[in-house]
C-alpha cells in the first residue's frame, strides 16, 4: 500500500492530464480557428482602382491621393495643441474628443484623427509634421472626377455594408466598393484583386514579421481601365441644358446600341461624394425627396410616353395589314368614344398616315388602334397581337442593360384589364388612350430612346449598354453585339419615318430644324397628375420628344423627357435639337436657341403644387 501510493498518484495524474488535453485539443479544437487567430493579421495591399474613359478616350474618372492624419495615442508627446489644430483646421474641442475616441479604441493602434486632407492642407502640414510625435500621415486613394457630370451614371464608391460583408467573402469591413452606377456594375473589373500579407502579431498587436515567411501572401492585381460609351462632351452639354429642369435624356447610337448620353435632371457634381464632405453632401442629396437628384430619371422615371407611342401603333397596324399609308381617318377636332368626344389639337380634317404623324392627330391613331383590334375575332386576341409587337421594341420589361438599376415600364396585357374591368368587360374603345401613348402604357426615357433607335434601324436594336471596352482585351458581353429584331418588317418603317421627318418639315417641330441635317422625330405632350397631401391635382403636361438623325444613316437616337415642360416641341424638342446638332456638327449655330435653353428654368412650375395656392397649368406664355 505504502509502496504503491506514489505510483498510483502518478498514473492518476497522467490520466487526468490526458483527459483534460483530449477535451482541449480534440473536443474543443476547431480547424477554422486560424481565421480568428489573434496572432495573425492580414494586411491588404490595395491595387489602384481602374480609370474610366469616355468613348473617345477622354478621362472621366481617375484617382487622387488623399491624406489621413493618423495618431497612435501612446506615442503622443506633449505638443502645441493650438498650432496643431490650426494646421489641421479643427478646433481644440474636436481635437480633444477625437483623441479620446482614439485612445478608447486602442492606445497602441493607429486611429484616424482627421480624414482625407486635401493636397493643399497636406502640403502645409507635411513640413511641420515632425514636431508632432505620435502622429503621421497616411496616403489613401480617392476617386477623382475629370468632369462635373454623369454623377448617377458613374456612381460612387463607399464602404461595404454589413449585408455585403456577410454575403461576399472578398470584402473586409472598411473597404470601399462601388455602390451605384458603373462603379457598381463593373466593380470587379475596376477594383482588381487586393494582395494579402499575413503578419504575425504579438499580444500587444505589434508586427513581429511575416507569417510562414509569406508563403500564403498574394500580390495585388491592378484594376482594369474601362472605356464607356458615353460621349463626355454631349453628356456635359446635355446636363447644362437641363439646368433648372427635371427629367431625363437618353441618347443612343442606333447602329451599336451604345448609350451616348444618360442625363437626369436635377443632377449633382460627382465630386460631392468624395472626401471629407461626403457624408454631409450625401445626406443633402439623399433626403431631397422633392427634386430627388440621386434618382436617375433617365432610367427610372416611367411616365406615359405620349405621342411618340403613336409611331409604334402605326407600325403595328401596317404589319397587321389593317391599314396602308394611304388609309385615311377624319378628325372632328377629336374622336368619339361612344358619345363622348375626345379632343385633338391637330386642327381637324382628313388625315393619312403621314399627316397623322406629323400633325400628331389623336383621331387618326384612335382609328388605327381600333382597326388593329377589329382584325381579330376577340379583343383578347387583338390585345395579344398588340402586346407582342410592343414588347418586341423592348417596352414593358427590363431591357437588360449593364446599368445596375432600371425600370420595366408597362405594356398592359389582357390579364391587366381583366383584373381592372372584369373578364370580357372591356374593348379596344375602353383602352383607346393607349393609342396615343396615354392611359396605362408607361416607358422610361431609355426605353423611348431604344424604341427610336429600333425605328431608325428600321426593325432592330442592340440592347443599350454603357460599356465599350474593358482593360486590354476589350471584350464585352456578346449580348450587346447581337441585334434584337422587332416583329415589324423593314418595309413598313419608311412611311412612318417619312411622317417623323415631316414633323420637322411641316409638323409640330418645324421651328427646330437644323440646317443641313435631316431629322426624324415625334413630339409628345403628356397629361399627368400628382397626389399631394391626399389631393389629386393635374400639373402642367410633361414635354416629351424622340428623334433620330440623320434620317438615312442614323448616328444618334434621342429621347427627351422634361417634367411639366408642356408641349413636346417646347423644352424637349429644343433640347433634342440642340443635342443632335452638337453631336453631329460638333458646334451650335443657333446660339439664340441655345441661350434660351440654358437660361430657362422650370423651377416656377415645380414650385406650384407646393405653394399651397391655386395655380394654373399649361400656360401659353413661356
Amino acid at each position: 500500500m505504502k509502496k504503491l501510493l506514489l505510483s498510483s498518484i502518478i498514473v492518476i495524474i497522467g490520466f487526468t492530464f490526458i483527459g483534460r488535453l483530449s477535451y482541449l485539443q480534440l473536443f474543443r479544437f476547431s480547424p477554422d480557428q486560424i481565421l480568428e487567430d489573434p496572432a495573425i493579421k492580414k494586411i491588404y495591399d490595395y491595387p489602384e482602382r481602374g480609370y474610366i474613359y469616355d468613348r473617345d478616350g477622354k478621362l472621366m474618372v481617375g484617382n487622387q491621393p488623399a491624406y489621413d492624419v493618423m495618431v497612435i495615442p501612446r506615442e503622443v508627446k506633449p505638443l502645441d495643441t493650438l498650432e496643431f489644430c490650426s494646421l489641421l483646421g479643427i478646433d481644440k474641442a474636436t481635437f480633444v474628443s477625437k483623441m479620446n475616441v482614439a485612445r478608447h479604441y486602442s492606445p497602441r493602434l493607429p486611429s484616424v484623427l482627421v480624414p482625407q486632407l486635401s493636397k493643399e492642407d497636406y502640403a502645409k502640414l507635411q513640413e511641420k509634421m515632425r514636431h508632432f510625435t505620435g502622429f503621421y500621415i497616411q496616403k489613401r486613394s480617392l476617386r477623382y472626377y475629370n468632369t462635373h457630370s454623369a454623377a448617377n451614371v458613374l456612381g460612387y464608391i463607399s464602404e461595404v455594408n454589413e449585408w455585403e460583408l456577410k454575403n461576399n467573402p472578398y470584402y473586409v469591413a472598411g473597404e470601399l466598393k462601388g455602390h451605384t452606377g458603373i462603379e457598381k456594375q463593373y466593380e470587379e473589373e475596376l477594383r482588381g484583386r487586393k494582395g494579402v500579407k499575413h503578419i504575425q502579431k504579438d499580444r500587444f498587436n505589434r508586427d513581429i514579421g511575416p507569417y510562414k515567411e509569406g508563403k500564403l501572401d498574394t500580390l495585388p492585381k491592378p484594376g482594369n481601365e474601362i472605356q464607356i460609351t458615353l460621349d463626355k462632351e454631349l453628356q456635359e452639354y446635355g446636363e447644362k441644358l437641363m439646368h433648372g429642369k427635371r427629367g431625363g435624356i437618353v441618347a443612343i447610337e442606333p447602329k451599336s446600341g451604345e448609350i451616348l448620353a444618360l442625363i437626369s435632371g436635377p443632377t449633382y457634381d460627382p465630386a460631392l461624394l468624395v472626401g471629407r464632405e461626403r457624408s454631409k453632401n450625401y445626406s443633402k442629396l439623399h433626403y431631397d425627396s422633392i427634386a430627388k437628384p440621386t434618382w436617375d430619371r433617365s432610367i427610372l422615371a416611367q411616365p406615359s410616353p405620349g405621342s411618340p407611342f403613336k409611331t409604334l401603333n402605326a407600325l403595328i397596324a401596317l404589319q397587321e395589314g389593317v391599314v396602308t399609308p394611304e388609309t385615311t381617318f377624319r378628325c372632328y377636332h377629336g374622336f368619339y368614344v361612344g358619345n363622348t368626344l375626345r379632343g385633338c389639337h391637330c386642327g381637324g380634317g382628313v388625315r393619312d398616315m403621314n399627316s397623322g404623324i406629323y400633325q400628331s392627330c389623336n383621331a387618326y391613331f384612335a382609328g388605327v388602334f381600333r382597326k388593329i383590334y377589329d382584325k381579330y375575332p376577340t379583343t383578347d386576341q387583338g390585345m395579344d397581337a398588340w402586346e407582342k409587337h410592343m414588347k418586341s421594341f423592348g417596352l414593358g420589361g427590363y431591357l437588360g442593360t449593364d446599368l445596375p438599376t432600371g425600370a420595366p415600364g408597362r405594356i398592359p396585357d389582357k390579364g391587366y384589364y381583366d383584373k381592372w374591368y372584369g373578364d370580357g368587360r372591356w374593348a379596344a374603345s375602353t383602352i383607346i388612350s393607349n393609342s396615343i401613348g396615354q392611359g396605362e402604357v408607361a416607358a422610361t426615357p431609355l426605353q423611348l430612346a431604344n424604341m427610336t433607335a429600333a425605328i431608325a434601324n428600321r426593325g432592330y436594336f442592340y440592347t443599350p449598354h454603357i460599356i465599350k471596352k474593358i482593360g486590354g482585351s476589350g471584350a464585352i458581353d456578346p449580348k450587346y453585339t447581337e441585334p434584337n429584331y422587332t416583329t415589324i418588317d423593314r418595309k413598313h418603317f419608311d412611311p412612318v419615318i417619312e411622317g417623323m421627318a415631316n414633323v420637322y418639315e411641316y409638323g409640330t417641330a418645324r421651328w427646330l430644324k437644323i440646317p443641313g441635317v435631316d431629322i426624324a422625330g415625334k413630339t409628345g405632350t403628356v397629361e399627368n397628375f400628382v397626389r399631394i397631401d391626399g389631393e389629386r391635382m393635374q400639373l402642367t403636361d410633361h414635354s416629351v420628344f424622340v428623334c433620330f438623325a440623320p434620317v438615312e444613316n442614323p448616328q444618334i437616337a434621342i429621347a427627351v423627357y422634361i417634367e411639366n415642360g408642356y408641349f413636346g416641341a417646347r423644352y424637349a424638342g429644343h433640347i433634342a435639337s440642340l443635342l443632335i446638332e452638337k453631336y453631329i456638327k460638333g458646334e451650335i449655330s443657333r446660339t439664340d436657341l441655345e441661350k434660351k435653353m440654358l437660361e430657362k428654368t422650370l423651377e416656377h412650375e415645380y414650385a406650384k403644387p407646393y405653394s399651397g395656392e391655386p395655380f394654373k397649368i399649361n400656360q401659353r406664355e413661356w
Binding site: S7, F17, L24, R28, Q200
Partner: protein
C-alpha cells in the same frame, strides 16, 4: 570503485529519459524565444542560447556528482542543509529582486536561486534524519523533527514571496508516508481541502447537511459486526463544521482579493458572467491564453516554429512556467501526450529504482527526488491546462532557468549515483 568508472552502473534508461525531456524542453524554449534576427543556437544573448549554456553547466555538475564518492552526500547532508538555510536567510539582506520576488543572488554571470538548491539539500537532510538508526518516525517527537526539517525552508521562502516553491516542500511528506508516517495525516489533509472547496462552493449549511447524511449512511450500511463509536464521529462532524465556518472567515478576511479571484475562477464560484469574464482577463489571463494556445494545436499541432500564439508571445511567461503550452500549440495532442507519457514513465522508473535500494538513505532520498519532481510536474501542467489555480512553479527539465535546470539535474543525478552504487551499500 567497481572498475567500470563513474558511469558504470548508472541507470541508462533514466539518463535517456532525462536527456529526452531536456531536449524537448529546449526545442520549445527555442521556439518561444526565437525572433527573426537570431541565427546561431549558440548565441548566448538569446534565451535558448543561455539555456544551452546552463545545460553545459548542469552537465559539469552531473560529472562532478558522478565522480564524488556516494557516501559523501550522506555524510555532509546536514552541512548542505545548514548552508542552504543560511543562503535563504541571507536573501533577506543580499537578495536580488526579479519580478517582485527576492529569490536570487546576483553572481554576475548568473542569478542563483537558493530555493532550488534547498529542495535538493532538504531532500538529503530528510533522508539522512529518517535513515538514522536512532530515528523512529512513529514517535511524536521525531515526527516533529521531520516536520521542522521540511517546513523551515518553506517558511523562509514564503515571504520572498514565492508561495509556489514553498508549496513544493510539502511534497516531501510523501517520503514520510513511505517510511511509516501515519497515512491518516494525508487523509486529514485531503478532508481539509475537500471541506475548504465545498464550503466555498456550497456554503456551510449544505456542507453540514452533507456530513450528517454521510454519517447516517455509514451507520446504515455498516456491517453489524463492525462497531463504530458514536462520540468520535460526532466530534469529527463538529470539528468539521467549525472548520467550515472558519473557512468563510479566512476567505473573506485573511485572503486578499487576488487570492479570492483565483479561487473564484478555479472553482467557478463567480456566477456573474460579466465579472467572471473580467477575472478571466486579469488574474486568469495567463491560463486563458495558455488554454487557447493548447486548444489551437489540435491533434497534430501547428508544427515546429509555426505556433502563431507562441510566436506572438500571447502566453505570458511561456518560456518558463508556461512552456507546456508551446508543446500543445506546436506539437498538438500527439506532443502533449508524448510528454505526459515520458514524464510518467520516467517517474515510475525512478520509483522502481528507489524501491530496489538496499540503503535506507538512498531509498528515502530517492523518494524525496521523485516527490519533488512529481509535485512540480503536477502543479505546473495542472495550471497550464487550466485544472489548477495559478501557482508559479517551473516544469522540471523543461522550463527556462539556470538554477532550475542545474539543481534539478543534480538532484536527479545524486540519486542515480547512489543507485549506481547500491551493490556496495550492503557491504
Amino acid at each position: 570503485m567497481s572498475g567500470k568508472g563513474p558511469f558504470g552502473r548508472i541507470d541508462w534508461i533514466s539518463v535517456i529519459l532525462y536527456l529526452l525531456l531536456v531536449f524537448i524542453g529546449w526545442i520549445n524554449i527555442y521556439s518561444t524565444s526565437l525572433t527573426e534576427t537570431d541565427s546561431s543556437i549558440f548565441d548566448f544573448s538569446t534565451l535558448y542560447g543561455k539555456q544551452l549554456f546552463f545545460f553545459g553547466i548542469a552537465v559539469l555538475g552531473i560529472i562532478l556528482v558522478l565522480f564524488v564518492e556516494s557516501s559523501f552526500f550522506e555524510r555532509f547532508s546536514s552541512i548542505f542543509y545548514m548552508v542552504s538555510i543560511v543562503l535563504l536567510l541571507g536573501l533577506f539582506v543580499f537578495g536580488k529582486t526579479i519580478a517582485g520576488a527576492t529569490s536570487w543572488y546576483d553572481l554576475g554571470f548568473f542569478n542563483l536561486q537558493p530555493s532550488e538548491l534547498a529542495k535538493m539539500t532538504t531532500a538529503l537532510a530528510l533522508a539522512k534524519f529518517l535513515s538514522d538508526i536512532q530515528t523512529d518516525i512513529r514517535t511524536r517527537k521525531h515526527q516533529m523533527y521531520a516536520l521542522v526539517i521540511i517546513l523551515l525552508p518553506a517558511l523562509l521562502i514564503l515571504p520572498q514571496p514565492d508561495p509556489g516553491s514553498s508549496l513544493i516542500y510539502f511534497s516531501l511528506f510523501f517520503v514520510l508516508f513511505r517510511e511509516g508516517f501515519p497515512l491518516y495525516y494525508l487523509g486529514i489533509l485531503l478532508v481539509t481541502v475537500v471541506l475548504f472547496a465545498t464550503t466555498l462552493m456550497f456554503g456551510t449549511v449544505w456542507v453540514t447537511i452533507g456530513l450528517v447524511i454521510l454519517a447516517l449512511l455509514i451507520y446504515t450500511f455498516k456491517r453489524a459486526s463492525v462497531k463504530i463509536p458514536v462520540l468520535p464521529v460526532v466530534g469529527v462532524i463538529i470539528v468539521s463544521i467549525l472548520f467550515s465556518l472558519s473557512v468563510n472567515l479566512v476567505y473573506e478576511h485573511v485572503f486578499e482579493q487576488r487570492h479570492r479571484d483565483r479561487f473564484a475562477l478555479w472553482l467557478s464560484l463567480e456566477k456573474d458572467e460579466k465579472k467572471l469574464e473580467e477575472i478571466r482577463k486579469t488574474i486568469g489571463y495567463n491560463t486563458y491564453q495558455s488554454e487557447k494556445a493548447i486548444e489551437s494545436g489540435g491533434f497534430f499541432g501547428k508544427g515546429f516554429l509555426e505556433g502563431t500564439r507562441t510566436k506572438g508571445d500571447f502566453v505570458p511567461e511561456q518560456h518558463t512556467d508556461y512552456i507546456f503550452s508551446s508543446v500543445g500549440e506546436e506539437w498538438g495532442f500527439l506532443g502533449t501526450v508524448t510528454v505526459i507519457l515520458l514524464f510518467s514513465i520516467f517517474f515510475l522508473r525512478l520509483i522502481h529504482l528507489a524501491e530496489r535500494q538496499k540503503s535506507d538513505f538512498s531509498r528515502m532520498y530517492g523518494y524525496g527526488v521523485i516527490s519533488i519532481l512529481v509535485f512540480h510536474y503536477f502543479i505546473n501542467i495542472g495550471m497550464v491546462i487550466g485544472l489548477l489555480p495559478t501557482i508559479g512553479v517551473p516544469l522540471p527539465f523543461f522550463s527556462y532557468g539556470g538554477s532550475g535546470l542545474i539543481f534539478f539535474s543534480m538532484l536527479l543525478f545524486i540519486f542515480l549515483k547512489l543507485d549506481s552504487n547500491r551493490l556496495k551499500d550492503g557491504i
